[in-house]
Chain length 252, copies 2
């Protein structure tokens, strides 16, 4: 967990936003775009391993992820850590710290990330004057909730192999919905086995043995600090899961 200061980047106009080109996001009216642009105060870049928010913090920044991966987690006093979910481009983070008294979880950068910073005090104004955007925020919250529901089902009731298969199927589906594959090279999920262990609720050793089995069966390949998904369909089958069919989704 590095703690260097984040690099502040110049503000880029929202209609230039490369992420907005992505076909999974819904189109915004120029009026909406105008407000969002106004809502935005700048961009930051966070290095791998940097902590972006920490549990207990009051009134943190409100961000949208522009690029890179992060993860949300909680820890118990003795250090046991549970990863709650992953954060990818298009995700809105820090909302909880505004609605509740303080942040109830922490977020750390899994790769280098760039984040779009919003002016927190304008959130009430957004609700007052932009019902369509307010609706979008609620939509995003409902989507997060539904991902957490699936994680709970997985941790609570799936076997080790099924659980791991679910995780990779889930992450694979998520990256694919926000990024074009890097030219003729496969997607790599930028995880360490410790992250996988802390997501699935297993020890590192057992995680290793479980992954090894998936590798031998040709479902995934394990690289240094990363996982390549080889057979999506078979993962879906093992996990007994399919990616939800989402129409266009909002992106603030």
């Amino acid at each position: 967990m590095a703690t260097s200061t984040p690099a502040i980047l110049p503000r880029v106009s929202c209609d230039q936003c490369p992420l907005r080109q992505c076909r999974s996001f819904r189109d915004f009216s120029s009026e909406e775009l105008g407000f969002v642009h106004d809502f935005k105060t700048g961009e930051v870049s966070a290095a791998q391993g940097m902590s972006i928010m920490v549990e207990g913090e009051r009134n943190p920044q409100l961000y949208t992820v522009l690029s890179g991966w992060g993860f949300r987690y909680k820890i118990l006093e003795d250090g046991r850590r549970q990863i709650l979910n992953y954060v990818l481009p298009g995700d809105l983070i820090g909302l909880q710290g505004h609605l509740m008294e303080e942040m109830q979880h922490s977020i750390e950068a899994l790769t280098r990330m760039t984040l779009c910073i919003f002016e927190r005090d304008k959130l009430p104004k957004l609700f007052r004057h932009h019902p369509s955007l307010a609706y979008d925020i609620t939509w995003l919250a409902a989507r997060e909730e539904s991902m957490l529901d699936e994680h709970l089902l997985s941790i609570g009731r799936r076997s080790a192999r099924e659980r791991a298969a679910y995780l990779f199927a889930f992450l694979d589906a998520r990256v694919k919905s926000v990024a074009a594959p890097p030219a003729d090279r496969p997607f790599i999920l930028p995880l360490t086995q410790q992250h996988v262990a802390d997501t699935l609720g297993f020890s590192l050793v057992h995680t290793n043995k479980t992954l090894r089995r998936l590798v031998q069966q040709g479902l995934i390949r394990w690289l240094d600090r990363g996982c390549e998904v080889l057979d999506t369909e078979r993962l879906y089958h093992v996990a007994e899961w399919r990616p939800p069919k989402e129409g266009k989704r909002p992106f603030i």
Copy 2:
């Protein structure tokens, strides 16, 4: 899982709503109250064991719980069931089915429940004309998310004993925030050991052995189809958890 038809009850005016007297809920302006009353189309009562929504359903009703307990759950094809969270008075349910294509989980009544039915088509109108209520809905979604985060931490990283202690501490805190204790008698959490097992991710047998231990240590008492919390502080300590300090919360 009974399947008798729900009993439709007459509509009661919202400013008479007994739940609204409860001091954990924020006050509404008469204007807000007026809209909510208009939003409401009636009440239903559901018997114990009745299923209120089922996974896959499209466009379900939107309800607020007025009284009783329910639970949200998901099941795998072979019948393994995971309880995701409990539903208590003041909770809004069915929102997901409107924002997403279809319901991603089911809800069943744990005791007899009465529900307040909203007119689903007015949700957009709510966002357009009542930003404060839209904000409340988002608030409720964020709160649900934060409960799920805690459940994930619990299932993923706590030991059997800690996990059970967390569950009872959590439920105890939740009932106490929405109901006055039944005159000079203790609160009873209306669960069966099978529900506990499906919440904690354990088998029934192991759940029984874990509960037995908590009983012997004087933390809880187990009744037929119910749990009485005896020592809240000690439960908090075992679970290494405290109820979140919430100010007034919205209630739609």
